[in-house]
Symmetry: C2
């Protein structure tokens, strides 16, 4: 940790200031991670803000992470790392934070990311094309943004099918309820459109980013797969894979990883993900591994070598940087761009400013929690966050939240309802999970043909 106090900004070059800012950003992050005293954090944040003001005075530009002053003038990237600069929300695969107590402004995010809003017209169209009532996550704006969804539907109407790709970084044994959101929705998409699904568990990523052994990461993968399978996926339509296993089991997958790696420079991942020179080369190359499942010939056992089957990725919006990169590369290596459906992410119990983390025991309601733990967490924690998790999950009217906000619903009553709904829901998930044997996991995770003709 560098101490930045006591320097005068006036004499400093833009690069000096840039480096001070970067280092101060690290300091703030470290203090937060280490749960330092609030006063210390506040002081560090204040210094950070002061440095940003100085920086703007000296350079005429906003400070952007990963973009030193000389480069910023021509940087055309509007990625999340860059955007975090001017007090905007910070949203990338490893950091979600906002200075706004109400949480991330998703409409602004759509503009910044250049995606499209899921409007009523699109929801109606999905209902028309599928002949099914749209899922509540679509109707309630949990999935709120998309890329190229109309194109997917155009093709589907002409009998050109597509496949689904989603995933998860297995950073701990236990999932929390927020983690189920993409899987619940993905299952609905799969059932509704009758299409294959691949689920990537990025145990290699977790090994690279966290202080975990390869063995732990792989064990979490198998445990997480059980929770995912417990959501009810059809074994005839679903392939779940660990990167650590599948990379070493599919030359076609690796070929696509190398193709992407050839077409993305360090400059680009620096701009998109904020990587720096002291990051390990594994992190730097990893985005290609998350990109590869977007291309159907990464799964020759499913798509019989076809490289042109359209991919649709339902994921939380913080994963979008990976797929912006993927969509940029795709046409250059002769593949269709994957389409996307973005969900909001689900705030932690500590507050709306960050997303839930599987790594912190008290930040979430976990799928392994006992009824008593659920009761305690809902009763004692900042349960307004819980609401945003639970309401979509249990299909209680969204208005309920507004009732509560307006005072029409009493706190005690709301807590009671939540506990009563959560306890059986999680208990029954735990029951289903118990049914998932090692053998079933193995079956889901074996590369094999699925019940589709492509």
């Amino acid at each position: 940790m560098t101490d930045c106090l006591g320097d005068e900004a006036g004499d400093m070059t833009p690069m000096d200031l840039y480096e001070k800012l970067t280092s101060q950003g690290d300091t703030v992050r470290t203090l937060k991670t280490e749960k330092a005293a609030k006063a210390d954090i506040d002081a560090a944040v204040q210094l950070l803000l002061k440095l940003k003001v100085d920086y703007k005075q000296v350079t005429g530009q906003d400070y952007k992470t990963g973009c030193p002053p000389s480069e910023c003038a021509v940087s055309q990237d509007n990625g999340p790392a860059a955007a975090a600069a001017d007090g905007e929300d910070m949203v990338d695969p490893w950091n979600v934070s906002t200075t706004n107590a109400k949480g991330v402004d998703y409409d602004k995010l759509i503009v910044r990311f250049g995606s499209s809003k899921i409007d009523q017209e699109l929801v109606d169209r999905i209902e028309r094309v599928s002949g099914q009532k749209a899922h509540r996550f679509l109707r309630r704006g949990i999935f709120f943004s998309h890329r190229d969804m109309h194109q997917v539907l155009d093709a589907y109407e002409k009998n050109k099918s597509f496949y689904l790709y989603t995933g998860r970084g297995p950073s701990s044994e236990a999932l929390h309820v927020g983690h189920l959101i993409p899987f619940i929705f993905t299952k609905w998409l799969q059932d509704t459109f009758d299409i294959p699904l691949v689920i990537q568990l990025t145990d290699d990523e977790k090994y690279l980013w966290k202080d975990l052994s390869l063995e732990d990461c792989h064990r979490y993968t198998v445990e997480n797969a059980k929770d995912i399978i417990a959501c009810g996926f059809d074994i005839n339509k679903t392939f779940i894979f660990s990167d650590l296993d599948y990379m070493g089991a599919s030359p076609d997958f690796y070929r696509n990883v190398v193709k992407v790696q050839k077409h993305v420079t360090f400059n680009q991942v620096k701009g998109i993900f904020g990587f720096g020179d002291s990051d390990c080369i594994g992190k730097i190359a990893f985005p290609a591994i998350q990109a590869a499942p977007s291309f159907s010939n990464s799964f020759p056992q499913i798509f019989k070598g076809r490289k042109d089957v359209q991919c649709l990725i339902p994921c939380a919006i913080d994963q979008d940087p990976y797929f912006r990169m993927t969509r940029d590369v795709a046409p250059r290596i002769g593949y269709p761009k994957p389409a996307l459906l973005h969900s909001t992410f689900f705030p932690a119990l500590q507050g709306a400013q960050t997303k839930m983390s599987a790594s912190e025991a008290n930040s979430s309601i976990f799928l392994t929690d006992t009824p008593k733990q659920i009761k305690n967490k809902v009763t004692l924690k900042l349960f307004y966050c819980v609401i945003s998790i639970i309401i979509p999950l249990i299909a209680v009217l969204y208005l309920c939240l507004q009732d509560y906000a307006s005072g029409a619903l009493l706190t005690g009553e709301l807590k009671k309802r939540l506990i009563e709904t959560l306890q059986p829901m999680i208990t029954s998930h735990q029951e289903r999970r118990k049914q998932v044997t090692e053998e079933t996991v193995k079956q889901f995770m074996t590369p094999r043909p699925l019940n589709f003709n492509f």
Copy 2:
């Protein structure tokens, strides 16, 4: 992403100048190689010198090959890319060049790389331990440098065996005679010590570095494997693998790649290999793939999961940067450091300043050349280079070269001898190569146990 350069010629950035300088350096080299008119060469050199002066004015630094302006200031490494700066020889996996017409100074290289000279004492010891006369490449200083070879022999004397790892980047269909050097020597080591051998063909590397398709790189791999097999390797002791195939066939190999990738930063590969921000992420991560075969548990089918079998790598000295990195990482991930035996590399027909390249038709004597082509090349080209290739290969007395240099051997006589020795040697290689069927290649390249108990 666009880069940061301005495009006005009058107002050149350091990076503009750097690129102009690099390109002008190439021009000068090409003119010299092609023996252009002296006036043309002089003019090109003068422009080069002028650009160097401009560069120093603008950046305050001396121009360094392979080291773009923004990075030079922070480069802390004394690796090959950096060392090329002050008129020293440039030796790294992609560039071998020297300003000295006699060729690279290998004694200086030993000092700079921090390796040890293969002295008479080591040669004698190898003879004692193996009970065999040392190979002529050892006796004549073709293999001239090592790391930890005494340690390998200490262990071998205590019945602790080791394995061999060598490799090749398949950049074209045809190998030249210089490419056989490491394989001829490796075969001798294998026969002498009766140990397993793994041969890595880095088709992924060639795809990342060259303007080649994945399919071409993989085809070259298979063709090159035939030439390697034709050297006479025992199928019961030898595993040859394509990265593009084996990475996708061995989860254990990929796990070691990720382990190395986690423990090497971009700063480090920048220092060691001269990578820059505009290099693709595949190049940046690749060194881990060349490192992984140094660890025995990358081949569980051979070593039954053991991670502690010592590795010995015979290779040309230009590959050393990869293995300095590997040796740095090894203890941090719980593996023994690989030992090394370094050979000189073999200069091109155009002159002693560069190494032979498989990509230029006239730079070498290829294993596919007809007797007539061999005759023409030896007769017409700068055959003093051929001597340094041929003499070790055919075991003609090394003194022969000194005779020639001293005038005792006439040019015509030397050419005649070379042609007479080369023609049957290459013809017989071609015969042996014809015997190598696709089936044999497949057998060598199938992951399988070898005839050893570990």
